[in-house]
Symmetry: C2
Subunit: 334 residues, 2 copies
């Protein structure tokens, strides 16, 4: 039986979301109407999460709602854009009050944090799938594309890498972690932080950027291909949380940092003459230089002694398991 | 196995679609970038088609591609907006070259007809589902909302009603039709014509509008609710194609015209003082007056002798069968 679309929209999605002055007509007509700033360009993105592919079936509905918006905000961050309006397509097998109420609460929490209005959408019955489409603003000629990297640029990432992958491995019982560590990596998997402030601060400083959704190697290669360059990465520079340092061997930690997805950190390149601008733009602990753009095509990962390391898996295939080698001796927990 | 998203996008969706000068960056980055006209408002809509719910599994991929855009263009039409850019989320069970090639051809055909650029999207593996999100322009204060109808206004529809419903009934073997008639009603079901010119011509003339996706009664009631009014419909004024007139009893034809969905005609209201403007705005045979807005809430359908007719089914539930009573004597075919 089809969901009664009108009731559902009114009950869970009409009233709860941030109001913006530039929204003339929101949910409830054939289209939403928005006023547009005259001095901006639009950034438009759309991303879908499918149950069992992009999140495990056990994921809490509040986290699903949060993450469905987070992955789209992360696209805005990677462009240096400021998000404004979203539309939502919710496909779910049945109307379930508790589920919908938690889902919309998770979505609303992140929408409020970034003043994003929910201006329209569609609901259908079917296998659980959430599509969020987002529109944001960026000043003309300021957007961070994938195509501007040049030989000699530094390669940087925000935050730490591989935590979400370790969270998934723990949920899949490949590794047993103490509760506080488990909570940390699960939170990194289910509630990624879109790096919006960082992306906006990097306008005019970074000459390319991407968000890491499929794993560092896979996403950095999009920059390399779009820019027509290659790169070297220094594995001992990869920013790792204590969770990865304490519970995985070096090789496993590198594999997670390089190849597991869902981190939603930014990877970006900065020319040498912008390095001091970078230091002024971002707090020192919020980003790490991990390598250098080179003329030779391809991506080379080197350990502390300069030896080449081949990542266990290039790119992220959803729910494919990475081989976990726990550390022999556990030092401390985060 | 997940689809190789990058290959798929490049092969079928990057090259084939209309280019627009206002698209600065299309498919292939974290978000698309578009320039915005300073003197317009944005209209934003999103609609999803799920196999087995919004189209029968036997539907040709070319028609699925066409219809996925058509239903969104119809939302633009109902607002009086001019479509500009679309994003696409394609969820399909497997990569199938023949299917994708036909699907993208159908989508492209309609995109070219209306100069709509495909600027981004997402592909995932899963049950066949197509989401199109569309952004268009409308001059400030000119959009056709659902909420402006006033007592005394005429109620109008474009085209003819019920053809798509008859097409579905024929596909479901509820009625046998001669091949030319079958082709006509199937085309009305699978390749609806978004009434974009009509919607744009109605700016400043119609005081409310909606597109008929769920059936005339259900969609007109959205106008009545949003406007806080009621209405009377004259059944003998309902615009019926020869297909409905020739192959259905009067009552069945009324039921299809009132309650079957997927026609994607416009339903709109026009105040008396705009009637001559309406006659100048639209070709005489492209629209029909079918009733009058009244102060009393509710919707009353009357036959030629003024008797109340209760539609067999209010609103359109996907794939629910309408009771078909064929005419006893067939006069002519279309």
């Amino acid at each position: 039986m089809p969901i009664n679309e009108f009731d559902l929209i009114t009950r869970y999605f009409s009233q709860k979301f941030p109001k913006r002055d530039d929204v003339i007509l929101g949910i409830g007509d054939d289209a939403a109407l928005c006023m547009i700033p005259s001095d901006m360009q639009l950034a438009i993105a759309i991303d879908t999460l499918v149950e069992g592919i992009h999140f495990p079936s056990m994921t809490r509905p509040k986290d699903i709602g949060y993450k469905a918006l987070a992955v789209n905000l992360s696209d805005m961050a990677a462009m240096g854009a400021v998000p404004a309006w979203m539309t939502l397509v919710l496909t779910c097998p049945e109307t379930n009050d508790a589920w919908l109420s938690q889902f919309s609460a998770g979505l609303k929490e992140l929408a409020e944090a970034h003043q994003v209005s929910l201006i329209g959408g569609d609901t259908t019955s079917g296998p659980l799938t959430i599509t969020v489409q987002i529109t944001g603003f960026v000043p003309p000629n300021c957007a961070l594309k994938r195509s501007g990297a040049q030989p000699g640029d530094g390669i940087y990432v925000t935050g730490t890498l591989g935590d979400a992958g370790l969270g998934l491995a723990a949920l899949q019982k490949q590794i047993v972690l103490p509760l506080p560590v488990l909570n940390f990596v699960e939170s990194r998997l289910n509630r990624p932080t879109p790096r919006l402030q960082e992306g906006q601060a990097l306008r005019g400083i970074a000459n390319s950027a991407i968000d890491i959704s499929d794993g560092l190697v896979a996403d950095l290669e999009h920059i390399l291909t779009a820019s027509g360059v290659g790169a070297s990465l220094a594995l001992d520079k990869l920013p790792l949380s204590n969770a990865l340092r304490d519970y995985l061997s070096s090789e496993s930690a590198w594999n997670f940092a390089l190849s597991s997805g869902d981190d939603y950190e930014l990877c970006f390149t900065v020319p040498q003459n912008q390095e001091s601008a970078l230091q002024n733009a971002l707090p020192p602990n919020s980003y790490t230089r991990i390598g250098t753009i080179e003329q030779n095509h391809g991506l080379r990962c080197r350990d502390g002694e300069g030896r080449i390391f081949i990542p266990q898996q290039k790119g992220y295939e959803h729910f494919v398991k990475l081989n976990v080698k726990p550390r022999k001796r556990r030092s401390r927990s985060r």
